[in-house]
Amino acid sequence: MLLNIKNLHVAINGKEIIKGLNLGVNQGEVHAIMGPNGTGKSTLAAAITGREGYEITQGEIWFKGKNIIGMPAEVRANEGIFLSFQYPVEIPGVSMTNFMRTALNAKREYKGLPSIPAGEFLKMMEEKKNLVEIQSKLTNRSVNEGFSGGEKKKNEIFQMAMLQPSLAILDETDSGLDIDALKVVAKGVNELRSEDNAFIVITHYQRLLDFIVPDFVHVLFDGKIVKTGGKNLALELEEKGYEWIKDQYLANSEV
């Protein structure tokens, strides 16, 4: 199993947000995580990627056979975990090209490989830019600076294509995207899907799942996965909302 989360509890400033979550992801799979706001979707992404300030109070996160709790964020990234950010941050004065080369070389150094030759790097940049229909000049600009909402999200997928992670977490990648940009982003993801990697798609809406078809859909509520199903579960949620799941969950927990 690529990722195996066992009984995970996560707290922020002493307040428990994730309360005993289990999730297993195999290579080649796409898992959608849905749920109402404030149920811990982004906290889960932060816990897997190793963001500071998120305290793991209990449980284990196994990735490629290693328990990664306590592993620094950059090591997890270099091990092959990628997060497409919900709100990509701007880094003034640092060109995308420079940023990407630094990231790629950090990964290569981690694997004991020499720095990527300039020619090979530029060729790779061209190829991956085409994948997400990013304009050439965008990579000469500073990281996310002055990018539109759509450009920022495309840029996340572009970085994913460059870094070729084994596990990619897309955190609300569809938020703030118009339908055309959404299609471009989905096309990029679909082209990168393979037997060797896996995706966790965190989303609020079913819309994205029309384009990135998941193998499993999980509903997160009150810090736990309360329901798991196939792609049809997303359609059902779209139709009926989250209330019925909430009711079901609360009824069960009262018993």
Binding site: E52, G53, N78, F85, I91, A106, K107, L163
Partner: protein
């Protein structure tokens, strides 16, 4: 919640040590400790100077005795005992016909500094005048420069070989009466560089001087004079390092630039004097007077500085815009870490009509340091239609450091426009996490973000200097790695 551990991370990565703290064991020929007229006569005699040079020194010394050390800057340090300093230290052997004759340890020092005096420099197109402690060791490429009529030599050589030029220009921009440290320098200066670009010549090489303080308890007082005649151009680079020492070392330099009609001088500095250790012990006291005079019409002087070193920096590279349509520029990145203190900025004095000046200052404070920008924009009554644009940005790393801005604006001409912008920002935890999530560790991430912040200034540096400056910025702020 974003900042829970941010401060700790910044603490860790800003605890780096000085990477250039090696000491070269070379036999020195030193003056006795202390400063009297005898010391000055000793220096002048050692350098076999003509009588007029000694007279200049003594005049400056007598003036200095009457002055008080300035106290207006936002810096604090124990009183300097000027009688406990050695004012002259020269490597004993002085004549070098070829590099083979130079002390191998000295060469090794240069290698550690990453500068080479050998033929490789020819390929990179840089001529170096290396000043170690006080005497110019070897000047390269005088032949190439000579063909174009460019004079680039040590100040001492210039005193002997071009006395008429030195007499004419020395002190014409920074008189010995200018300030306390300028008077001191004029009295005891040991060596430095002289550069003369004749009319209509575009200097074929970027000229470079590497300064380094080596011996213990020595002050370094170098003097640089650059004269650019009508329609000439030169780009001049100055780099500085010093070995690690517990005691404080004094550096009080003077740089004077004169630009005639349509001449352009670009002066770039990467200053990495020893800043003292993590606890603020030791380090160089850097009190420098740098000033350029745009004497001719449409002349241009541009200062670019990357200041990462020194325990104390007191430095205001300035432009006096005398010629009509002349241009002054100041681009600065000043980094302070641990207990470093910097009070640095510029003065733009608009005298001529249609004169323009630009000030871009980027301060970066980390650790428990204090970083001040102090700048004066002065528009005199005759300077019609003059313009100034100033931008002063401060970046704070952690919450124990200080950033201060002291802008002074004196506009006495109604047709002139003066603009001033200022910002203060912090490296956000979001930016750090974004980098780390891409596999870039905290130290590299801070280097990347800081270099991005300083890019506007770094872009003004000559190529090979820019690379060095980028590394230096990263090293200064990083931990023990790198």
């Amino acid at each position: 919640m974003e900042n829970i551990s941010g401060t700790n991370i910044l603490d860790e990565v800003t605890q780096g040590d000085y990477k250039f703290g090696f000491y070269t064991d070379i036999e020195n020929d030193t003056a006795p400790r202390g400063l009297t007229e005898d010391t000055i006569r000793f220096i002048s005699a050692k350098k076999e100077e003509p009588e007029w040079m000694l007279a200049f020194r003594l005049k400056a010394f007598r003036h200095w005795l009457a002055l008080k050390e300035p106290e207006w800057a936002h810096i604090h340090y124990p009183a300097i005992n000027y009688q406990n300093i050695i004012y002259y230290a020269a490597p004993k052997r002085k004549e070098f016909a070829s590099l083979d004759e130079i002390d191998p340890e000295l060469l090794e020092t240069f290698n550690k500094l990453g500068i080479s005096l050998d033929e490789q420099k020819k390929l990179t197109g840089v001529a170096v005048d290396a000043v170690i402690d006080s005497v110019s060791v070897k000047t390269t490429f005088q032949d190439t420069l000579g063909k174009h009529g460019v004079i680039f030599c040590s100040f001492s050589e210039a005193v002997h070989n071009h006395p008429e030029l030195i007499k004419k220009y020395m002190g014409s921009v920074v008189p010995y009466t200018d300030n306390y440290f300028a008077a001191l320098n004029s009295a005891v200066f040991s060596d430095g560089s002289f550069c003369f670009i004749p009319k209509g010549v575009r200097c074929p090489l970027e000229l470079s001087t590497y300064f380094r303080i080596n011996a213990a308890n020595t002050g370094q007082f170098e003097r640089t004079l650059i004269v650019a005649e009508d329609s000439s151009y030169v780009s001049y680079m100055e780099g500085c390092t010093a070995p690690m020492r517990d005691e404080n070392q004094l550096h009080a330099a003077i740089v004077e630039i004169v630009a005639m009609d349509n001449a352009e001088v670009k002066y770039s500095t990467v200053q990495n004097w020893y800043p003292g250790d993590k606890n603020g012990i030791g380090g160089v006291y850097n009190f420098v007077t740098k000033r350029g005079l745009c004497k001719g019409n449409s002349s241009k002087i541009s200062w670019t500085q990357v200041e990462t070193g020194s325990a104390i920096t007191w430095k205001y590279p300035s432009c006096v815009l005398m010629g009509d349509n002349s241009i002054g520029e100041f681009y600065s990145v000043a980094v302070t870490n641990h207990y470093q203190q910097a009070d640095t900025g510029t003065k733009m004095i608009h005298i001529g009509k249609n004169t323009r000046s630009t000030i871009i200052s980027k301060g970066i404070s980390a650790g428990k340091s204090n970083n001040s920008y102090r700048g004066l924009v002065k528009i005199l009554p005759a300077a019609s239609n003059s313009r100034n644009f100033s931008q002063c940005d401060s970046l704070l790393l952690g919450d124990k450091c200080g950033a201060h801005t002291f802008p002074y604006i004196q506009a006495r001409n109604e047709t002139s426009i003066v603009e001033h912008e200022a910002t203060t920002s912090k490296i956000s935890e979001d930016q750090l996490f974004y980098c780390k999530q891409r596999g870039i560790d905290t130290e590299k991430a801070i280097g990347l973000i800081v270099n991005g912040y300083a890019k506007e200034v770094l872009n003004k540096l000559p190529m090979e200097f820019a690379v060095e400056a980028q590394k230096l910025l990263a090293i200064t702020l990083e931990g023990s790695v790198g």
